[in-house]
Symmetry: C2
Subunit: 370 residues, 2 copies
Amino acid sequence: MQTFALFFYIFVDIFDLINRMTKKQATIQDIAKALNISISTVSRAMSDHPKIKKSTKDQIWDMAKKLNYQPNTIAASLRKGKANTVGMIVPRVNRHFFSNVITGVESVLNPAGYNLIICQSEESIEKEKININTLIASRVSGILISLSLETTKYDHIKRAIKMGIPVVLYDRVCDELDVCKVENDDFSGSYDLTRHLIEQGYRKMMWIGGSRKFNTYTNRYQGYRKALSEIGLEADNMPIFEGSISLETSYDYFKTFIENEQLPEVIFSASDYMAMGAILALQEKGLRIPDDIAISGYSNEPFAALINPKLTSVEQFSKEMGQETARLLLAQIQSGNPNNVSTKTMIRPRLIVRDSTQNKNPDPTPPTND
Amino acid sequence: MQTFALFFYIFVDIFDLINRMTKKQATIQDIAKALNISISTVSRAMSDHPKIKKSTKDQIWDMAKKLNYQPNTIAASLRKGKANTVGMIVPRVNRHFFSNVITGVESVLNPAGYNLIICQSEESIEKEKININTLIASRVSGILISLSLETTKYDHIKRAIKMGIPVVLYDRVCDELDVCKVENDDFSGSYDLTRHLIEQGYRKMMWIGGSRKFNTYTNRYQGYRKALSEIGLEADNMPIFEGSISLETSYDYFKTFIENEQLPEVIFSASDYMAMGAILALQEKGLRIPDDIAISGYSNEPFAALINPKLTSVEQFSKEMGQETARLLLAQIQSGNPNNVSTKTMIRPRLIVRDSTQNKNPDPTPPTND
DNA sequence: TTGTAAGCGTTATCAG
DNA sequence: CTGATAACGCTTACAA
């Protein structure tokens, strides 16, 4: 018994030694050889094939452990013609919104056995093209993409679609591609928010946001415009500031705006960051929010609930968007007939009313409508 | 001429047709066949091998374009025994700090021709093990990992190391693994911050932070302790609150703390979120910051500069950490002798002094030391 | 229940 | 400068 144990010990060690010396990883061949069985049996055992005897399976699994076997998905992918990998193109990962979409995507893709390759376009169409090529070259099972701000031609994406790779667009979509899309319902979010402002009694409004050549901001503007038009106000005749979506841009703008222009009752900011810039500029001039001027944001950035006053904003459910996007992709992959349908899913955002839009001295006139 | 053009047109179309019908992607074989040359020549041309005539290369590239050829990196990886992919394990992507590390990593890995597979451990050692297995199975060229909070055993990581996969630890490291590590110099960051508080004249301090069983918080505590001991104060004798690192925990704690305990002059919070929770609780009770009580944070979250008062904090240079981590990994990969060195890189953080620690009525006693 | 053998698309070695 | 050919590690008909 003693001897046997010793023998066994040496036996194990030899395998380990061989592993180390050759620096080569064990394959199913090694297992097959060691057990004097066929490699296909090993392959089947590794995927827990029902037609393999339990006892042989156990043998194989033991040996696998002994040899420190790690399956090689690359070989499997090559053989199967596709990888259990999906590619996700994101403008930037270090944005609250997008990193939450990623979390959502992973939460459905991982349990389904897929890995995520994340690529950043950094808002550049050139990078986006490179990303697409990389993903095609990696033979991913599908591609999730939110378009870069620069992207106005879609040949690179069409190429992927033509190759039979399922594609789902999320957040930043376009009409030209005939695939599944998951969007934020910016129109509704904006409309609801504007209704809230109206109900608070505000009438003299001002729009600030990113350039309306981007869908996001057009849609938000349209929602704002619609709500106003319903009570007989014309958004286009009220002040508008379009600029790059950053705290600084808006801060600088309001520094001078305050000096030269008459302030509205409320600022509708289509971006929390721009709202923040405005707030800093206004507060520096001694203006109280919302008493002297109210303001709302959009996106519900983490800081919105933390600043003073707490910022009214719109929650976008980024994680849910990721989940829905991933689910659609999985459906495409599993259908075996990718890109055969082109759906359009709207994620309905939710208005979060906070202190920054609480009218202390509401206009006596109620909304004329509804 | 007319005829030729027509012929050519049909010719192209046939290829396209075949591509579509078979849904099979063109390979170098197809190119070779179409051009009546050998597949090895095509392979060489695709990697721009110097010994291939310019004219044949051009032919090949043309045909590649015509056939809509996309290289198959899976096949290449299998043949070469490794993928041009590196794996990155991150506790959570939707954290400001980590998503910036990712950005940094990508900024050096992509130009070097590597792709990133990002996995989230979600602070679970089980997930971390699965992630490691996935990455090994994908035959990544290297692994970057920040340990989950649960991780106290490292067999899974050792396995990767033993298989010859270069591993670099970042942010959350451990002594037991003999690999390259990139850490935040929490001790120094905390020390510098405490010195600043001392210089502001604060003496009655309070420590709040995450559990000190985690390196991060021990180190920060030690820096704090050291600075205090230098002026003859004993940190251990001052109030301490350890809890989960969230706004809510700290908010709840201070709601009752204010009622029952005597407030310190300044709260040293080892987390911006906990600082924020405290601020909300204190301000709700009508306390003015920093006039009635000062407070500092750590990590320089985006909101730190936006709240009122602006929060003194410590900037961690997460992007730079990512870049350094990636550089170290690349060096390991290229050395061909992975995990042969084990370095320890400290990223020195920077103190950002803001309003929340401006002492309006400084203690007349200057620091006794330095 | 297990084995045989072909092949996935590359690259690398050797030979012209 | 180019070609033939053997892997790389796995899956999967088809056979037994």
